[in-house]
Symmetry: C2
Subunit: 203 residues, 2 copies
DNA sequence: GCAAAAGTGTTGTCGGTACACCCATGC
DNA sequence: GCATGGGTGTACCGACAACACTTTTGC
């Protein structure tokens, strides 16, 4: 029985949460968009396979990776029986993508406007978005989507993009500091309009 | 590559959270305790395989089942490469167990005193306990461990057994009703010492 | 009456929300 | 000066912990 990994790779760009999709070359989903992924090898864990796919197919390294759920409907892959372990990855908005000739296309899509997806990848994407949103509320996963230092305004816009709703800036800032998630670096963000903001880093 | 399911089957008996373990007949873990489980077949999902194992190996039916995590270390099974999807199951304390000649023994163990476990089953058991405790705090999974009706005292003792700590009865009762988790049935628990308690059911 | 469990009332604290207000900069 | 985002102060509300107290039964 085949075992594969599939990846929901997220980034935040221009205040939008986006998902990385590839366009398939091979039958039976030629031309369709799907999550990147592939078979696991005999000597690696599913996490290692996911890390490898991330590098081989998109040129990404050193990214946050988390196992999500195993999808195992016998009919999920029309070609052959193959279960797939879905993962979530988070990368900074400016990371450059490498393309591969394995796919006929690769691109970022806002999660609010995803095209139809191959296999059961719609369910995987939905699951990943749900998990990311939940995790944002009680953890500091957001650190994997931002630079080392950032302003509270930047952090807030990241949260708003992922959660898909507006937050109160005053309460957001106080809370971020109060729960010890971020620490003041003592530096300021200059060179922009309006009052300069303090730069923070994750604690 | 082999794909298996393993099951962390919980029950609460005499105010203790207990885990169902089987004793292995075959090499290389002959005589060792382990979580029940087995290979999945070509025409079933991992959840269906877990349900089937639950019935075949322990005679259990209609139980709460939840997929947890996929364990995939290449060396996790010394016999052959085989990944395993860990699941959690919850059953009522009085459920009768069927034995099978596939194992040389089967029994309940308090989670505080587990014997050494075969494969990576210790990690699976730890993961399952953690998940069960977390889920107890915000969901009504407890319903799968109790009868249709129960007193708030019984529900509290269940919570205390799983969480491994004492709770304030007065706050516990008020909260259970306030958040709408349980509803008063209007009936009372009679035939026991002391003041009779109201019987509740899950909402 | 007494022990034990069931159940109610009250109070304080803490986290979160709402929102008025001040600050510092570019233009 | 004024627009704009950065940042502080404060008041209110609901959840929850702590704990005093009453109720109802078996013995």
């Amino acid at each position: 029985m085949g075992v594969a990994v599939d990846l929901a790779i997220f980034t935040v760009q221009e205040a939008r949460l986006e998902l990385l999709l590839i366009r398939m070359k091979r039958e039976p989903y030629t031309g369709q968009w799907a999550l990147p992924g592939g078979r696991i090898r005999g000597d690696e864990t599913v996490e290692q396979a996911a890390t490898r796919e991330l590098y081989e197919k998109a040129g990404l390294q050193q990214v946050y990776l988390e196992q999500l759920y195993t999808f195992s409907e016998p009919s999920r892959d029309p070609r052959a029986r193959c279960i797939s372990v879905a993962h979530m990855a988070l990368i900074r908005g400016d990371a450059p993508l490498r393309t591969t000739d394995k796919y006929s296309g690769i691109g970022w899509f806002p999660v609010t406007r995803l095209p139809p997806l191959a296999f059961d990848h719609k369910a995987m994407a939905d699951y990943a978005i749900k998990r990311l949103r939940a995790k944002l509320e009680w953890s500091d996963v957001a650190r994997n989507l931002l630079d080392k230092t950032f302003t509270l305004g930047e952090l807030q816009r990241l949260y708003e993009a992922i959660l898909g709703k507006r937050l109160d800036a005053r309460n957001f800032q106080r809370r971020a500091v109060a729960i010890g998630m971020v620490k003041d670096t003592g530096k300021m963000r200059t060179g922009q309009a309006y009052r300069p903001a303090r730069l923070y880093r994750f604690a």
